[in-house]
Amino acid sequence: MKLLHTELLIARHFKNSVFKNPAIYIITLFIGALLLFATFLGWDNYKSQNEASEKYQHESREDWLKNPDKNPHRMAHYGNFAFRKSTSLSVFEFGMEPFFGNAIFLEAHKQNTANFSEAGFSNSMLRFGEISIGMVLQILLPLLIFFIGFNAIAFERENGTLKLLLSQGISWKQLLFGKIFGIASVIMLLFIPTILVLVFVWLLLQNFTISADETFKMILFILFHFIYLMFFCVIAVLVSASSKTSKKALVSLIGIWLILTIILPRTSQAIGAYLYEAPSKVQFNSEIEQDILKQGDSHNPNDVHYKAIKDSLLRTYKVDSVQKLPFNYSGFIMTEGERISSKIYNDHLEKLLKIYDKQNSFSKAVSFLNPYIAMKNLSMGLSNTDYDSYIDFQKQAEIYRYDMAQKMNALQIKYISNKKPGAKEKPLTIGKEHWADVEEFHYEPKGISDVLKTEILSIISVSFWIIILFMLIRFAAKNLNAI
């Protein structure tokens, strides 16, 4: 019981003094209400988004299977959809979700954009941000910690009670830790109920059948947020301890909060975006088209590349016209065209993603200085609402699209006769049973190990901050004085 006895006494004392101020009840009540509002809307949003996405994914699949006998190339144009689904943690952390497209139409020859993002359907209000549990935990609670904590030591100094405390044999270290625990105990009154509700809602969403992956993500989500909030308790006490007056402490803390949560995240990303300019869709598409034309245009009857293929086929099979080939010639050409155009598209996409990576690198680097960015990145990673998850979704959709198109081409090569039907003859078809050969699109969100791999920098940053803050406490305990 002797252990930390003094610290806990100081903590209890501080907590009582905080609750003497009636404003704290109003704030707590308000934040509580905001958390409930955020949970409810997050839940509602998640359910409707996932229900819609599942419904239409399913419907589009039924539609696909219902198609009658037809030419496989018609089916390649009929196409499929990839609808984006959210993970259960996204109820609490929206991340970039509002800016993600929710549906991609997947067809032959063409990589379509991911459309129907929430942002595209909103007015500028969305750009002010959204209320989610993550936002409350990451932005509002740190400010609340600062508002509660700026007085912690500076006020005692102003009052002269600091000298009394220290002369009673309490060490600086005990005092600092005591105050940190004091602030933390106030914040935990908000944090713990929030986590309980969070876990309950999260269990409810999955009908109490949880996977190991999801559970691990959830535990890390809670753990990192806890550590993150503790950072701010420590910062508040340290700043309060090193300020002459409580006013100075308050102004410095507000400044720190503004820089960490409002100014730096936007500026660092803006610098990246400014320095590494990404092409717009117009430019991107026209560059791809030019490269495809260079490689060979399957629509151009006199194209050199395709003429070479034709000649070599005729030579190999020792025939004098493509109609005499033992397989469907246009299916073969389309396979080649799809291969070339996808390769070129993917090359350009890689280039584009490299530019995006460079743009993001600034903010990643700043996450070392700014625990908010590190926390935000981690939280978005764990809830699969981060940049990498979105790119991953698009890549999975593109792989599916390519396989579908090539499967249809293969069916054409194999089953469609090489002799074109006359103008009045029925078109050539294959049986509808083949449509089921193409599996339904299924998006698999990134697992915990991939998330941790991409967020390694944020984890290092968090560990780095733990060390720095401990060192600062030790340094402060040695060098602070009472006046």
């Binding site: 198609n67 609808f83 209000m125 002010f128 308050l250 409002i262 990303q269 430019q283 743009q359 903010s363």
Partner: protein, 447 residues
């Protein structure tokens, strides 16, 4: 007296640093605006060249079939970007400012999104409107939260009170000095913007400037009111930052979340499935039935009868047309929902000055949802015009070479929405008057 107050204010290190910081970040915002402007202009220039080459190339490939040619050819419509847009990028980064469409089904092409790095979108732009909306208030708060309270805390207030004949007048002067320096900074930044970004000084710019000034004044009014309560500096700082937090983050975010949840748009996904099926199922249906529906829509094409062949372009474009016609209900619903969203947010925004300012600035810069909706409508008209122009040529199989393909230039849509002074200024004015009135009342009572 005023001169002394001004000297005293400007001499402080904090003031100099604050003003310099705002000037620098304001200038950075103009650089970002310039980059945005250049990108938009390059895109338009590139589209113009691209369209010309693209049409010429395809016209040379598909000489004998105009129907096949028009399967490929894309025509572009540009949503005009005003120079003032560089100050308020708004939604123009999310939504494409150029639509390129073929005369095939429109619903499958209309909602194609712009390429974007979602990290940039999430972080938001540092355009001038960000500096104005977020950062100006912070500096205003920093400059005025401790007026009077600081002097009271250091004990100099009694001296001031006995030395000046009218303390209320003294307080007004303190504010006057601060207002003047920030309005001065705002004006300086906008003058640089006019030169640097070639923004015409016209009615929209005047409204822009008016809103910006009223917005800056609004924050001084808020500070004036809080200072009039005559609490201590710490209380003022906490309460002012909380007000800022509410107006800049919590309320807009809560309202946005509410609106998105209230007006959900499942129609979007339904629409996209519907148009796909409506078109594709026609391949396996009776051709004449499809054509009859087509004639119903366009009676003027009744004399083009279905040729006796397995495939004809008349039939093909009739099928494509059906994709649009049969998903028209969903398309209309989606449009109506988005308009509802816009109305609801504008209505609520009148009571939240920060939101109101942002929405009004976006409206002036034509970068709001309303502009996007008008652009989509215009795209529909543009597409319809092309269809009606090309349909008879396709059905007659008009010779490709006889068309003057150079005539099909990139077209531009100019959003002609007029700016209303009352709508723009009234809410801000009302808040200003209210806060100053209440502050005045408090001072009169207490001093």
């Amino acid at each position: 007296m005023l001169q002394l107050l001004f000297k005293n204010f400007i001499r402080s290190k904090g003031t100099k640093f604050g003003l310099l910081f705002l000037l620098i970040i304001g200038f950075i915002s103009l650089l970002i605006g310039l980059q945005f402007q250049e990108k938009q202009q390059n895109n338009i220039a590139e589209t113009t060249i691209y369209q010309k080459e693209h049409i010429a190339r395809n016209a040379s490939f598909h000489k004998d079939e105009i129907g096949l040619l028009l399967y490929y050819v894309k025509f572009s419509l540009v949503n005009k970007t005003l120079p003032i847009n560089s100050l308020v990028i708004g939604q123009r980064d999310v939504n494409p400012s150029i639509q390129s469409v073929t005369i095939r089904g429109l619903e499958a092409q209309k909602y194609d999104s712009e390429l974007n790095n979602p990290s940039n979108l999430l972080a938001g732009n540092i355009d001038f409107s960000f500096v104005l909306l977020y950062l100006f208030p912070l500096l205003i708060i920093a400059f005025s939260y401790n007026l009077i309270s600081e002097e009271k805390e250091s004990g100099t207030w009694k001296i001031v009170a006995t030395q000046s004949s009218n303390t209320f007048f003294y307080i007004l002067k303190l504010f006057y000095v601060r207002i003047l320096s920030l309005i001065g900074l705002l004006t300086l930044l906008l003058i640089i913007a006019i030169i640097f970004l070639q923004i015409p000084v016209d009615k929209s710019f005047a409204v822009f400037y008016g809103i910006a000034v009223l917005y800056v004044l609004l924050w001084f009014s808020v500070c004036f009111f809080i200072v009039s309560l005559q609490k201590n500096s710490n209380f003022n700082a906490v309460i002012l930052l909380t007000i800022w937090l509410f107006l800049i983050i919590i309320l807009p975010a809560a309202i946005n979340t509410y609106i998105i949840n209230k007006y959900k748009v499942p129609e979007a996904l339904e629409l996209t499935l519907k148009q796909r099926n409506a078109y594709h199922e026609k391949w396996d249906m009776d051709k004449q039935t499809t054509l009859n529906k087509f004639y119903e829509h366009y009676p003027q094409f009744k004399n083009y009868v279905l040729p006796d062949a397995e495939f004809s372009w008349l039939w093909y474009y009739a099928m494509q047309q059906m994709g649009d016609d049969e998903s028209a209900v969903q398309s209309k619903e989606l449009e109506a929902k988005l308009e509802q969203r816009n109305h609801a947010s504008e209505a609520i925004a009148q009571f939240i000055p920060t939101l109101h300012t942002q929405i009004q600035l976006n409206e002036i810069a034509k970068s709001d949802l309303k502009n996007q909706l008008s652009f989509l409508k215009e795209t529909t008209k543009f597409h319809e015009k092309l269809r009606l122009h090309f349909y008879p040529k396709i059905f007659d199989n008009a010779p490709v070479e006889q068309q003057d393909w150079d005539d099909y230039k990139v077209e531009t849509f100019t959003d002609a929405t007029e700016i209303s002074f009352t709508k723009a200024f009234l809410p801000l004015l009302a808040f200003n008057v209210l806060l100053i009135g209440m502050g005045w009342f408090n001072f009169k009572r207490m001093i």
